[in-house]
Symmetry: D3
């Protein structure tokens, strides 16, 4: 078994806010991230699949197809978007780097031909990232 | 004469929009960047000053003071903000990487003790950046 | 379960030396690293915790608290220090990147609120790093 | 147990081609990579070993010896070479990043003194890499 | 005046060889680079243009057009190619990083709408790069 | 004319201290850097030369010779050393990144065959670097 990882990027805006809380509570817990005008990041996404390399092509996954799936299922939906306002799963889920990793997993699971999704890593900045391996991990 | 460069970072949201244009015109010229919900980036700022190293301390500039100036004049104003909505100079100026570099220069000029401002570089992404040397350059 | 990783940095001096050995033996085993005047590195520390994202905040760990713990327990003790001379655990333990990773784990275990410490990674240089998962790994 | 990773690099040429296929089939599956004149990459190799740090030296592995093994077994064979034409294992195996990771593992297994080979990671580009943990993983 | 830089990448094979020299002379001067099977690199190209930001759009150059020019004039010609065998200017010119920078300049000069070409930088590896400013520089 | 830049690295210890000052004055001006046990960095050195590419070889400078000069004149003297205690020029000159850039220039000037030294850049950390162009710049 071998792991194959491909990186993609998207630039998006977000903020953190709990409707049930006062502005002061949101500010106390989320600090600058509670600014409802939003701020943004260059997110880096690393998607890892696992499988056996094909005996003829040497590929675990067709890279062209994998790139198309990432583009169609994630990048075209998240890139140059305001995550809170335009991406459905973040209507009721804070767009933290943890929840983005889970959401990317849910969007990709079962969509990549041939190989099995193994891990989703999302970097919000170079010094902060989350890894998700699905529920069974 | 020697150049000394210090890097800082800020995360912000922005979009491009010309009020005098139709939505179609904005879309045609600015593409995905015309989404008025905004999107965002991890901007990297490199500020370069020039001067002679002090004979005793070996410093062109007091790094602590320089860091404080960058924080007070730029980072605290731009970081975790929506540039179009919250930073005054971008009310009438598109927040392109070119205009951000010019705006940072205008905010810093004459503010750094001892040394002379030489160049402002702003990266919007690792693969796109602008350099500004002031008007005399 | 999700993993959340935060990066921190410290700059420190160190050298390798076994008191029970002759200078020649130290030189033979440790090479340039046996220079007792010390040399130094920009160490990069990646601390990974695991847990479930909070249903309301979306956080596995309060990032502000985690940053404070890293600062108080590790960075303020190691940064701008000579590891052999000023950090107690390296009195009887060579400050190799392996031992620094173990020492950082010991300093952090049980100190990060809410989440469980999962992995400590320490880079001595970009091309050399150690990972420690605690004793049970 | 601790993991220790060391990075190395090599620059090489390669292409993908299945002799049993027509030129059209090769072009359809491999795209630009089927150009038999070859193209190339700066490959980055990360080799991870595991073990206990020596109580006296603090090392899991003698870094000098590990570097010599990587140089002798892999870098001197792959660097500045055309993988398809000059490296024996790629006569009958496409030099994909997956197969390069497996081949590096086979070249290194049992050759690094003291420590056990744990993982081989090969980057073809910064945004594409493979991990191999040997057959038992 | 402001400078705007955009990065692009291409992966290619090359070797160094002077037909008028013996194999020994080629080996002595070019070392491993004289292997006529070729080896390769992930080249990184940084193209800098200069001009005044447009008062309305804030752009020195239309980034979409600039990207199209880089793709059409350079990347589509160099990427996944063997520079010595497939790119006409390297029939009579060694494909060193210096000569690649000059060749990219010659391909781009006068082709980028609105702005003036200022500098071409080419990285062969992260630790080796050339800058060319045209003949008048 | 073309510029060619080559990168090298060295790891060293240093501190800042003015003998004529009290400990309090040193602490006030230099902060944590005044710790006389020393701390350290992975310094990155970028040396740029300029010239015309040779019509036959395509080289501005023989890279092998340039690498040997950097190794002999700078890296072998600075690497794994304590700059204040072991490198003569820092006996009477604070080892700031500005002064290190000047010192590297003085060590290299006139030593690189064929090409002219154009710029020395030294990074103390990724976010702090100095450029020196010699006295005529």
């Amino acid at each position: 078994m071998i792991l194959l990882t491909r990186r993609a990027e998207f630039s998006a805006a977000h903020f953190y806010w709990v409707e049930a809380w006062t502005a002061d509570e949101n500010q106390r817990v989320f600090g600058k991230c509670s600014n409802r005008n939003g701020h943004g990041h260059n997110y880096v996404l690393e998607v890892t699949v696992c499988g056996e390399p094909d005996a003829v092509t040497g590929f675990v996954v067709d890279l062209k197809e994998m790139k198309d799936v990432l583009e169609r299922e994630v990048v075209s939906v998240y890139d140059h978007r305001h995550l809170n306002l335009e991406v459905p799963e973040f209507a009721g889920r804070q767009p933290t780097v943890e929840n983005i990793a889970i959401s990317v997993w849910e969007r990709l699971e079962g969509k990549i031909p041939q190989a099995r999704l193994y891990r989703v890593r999302v970097y919000e900045r170079e010094d902060l990232f989350a890894d998700y391996f699905g529920e069974q991990a």
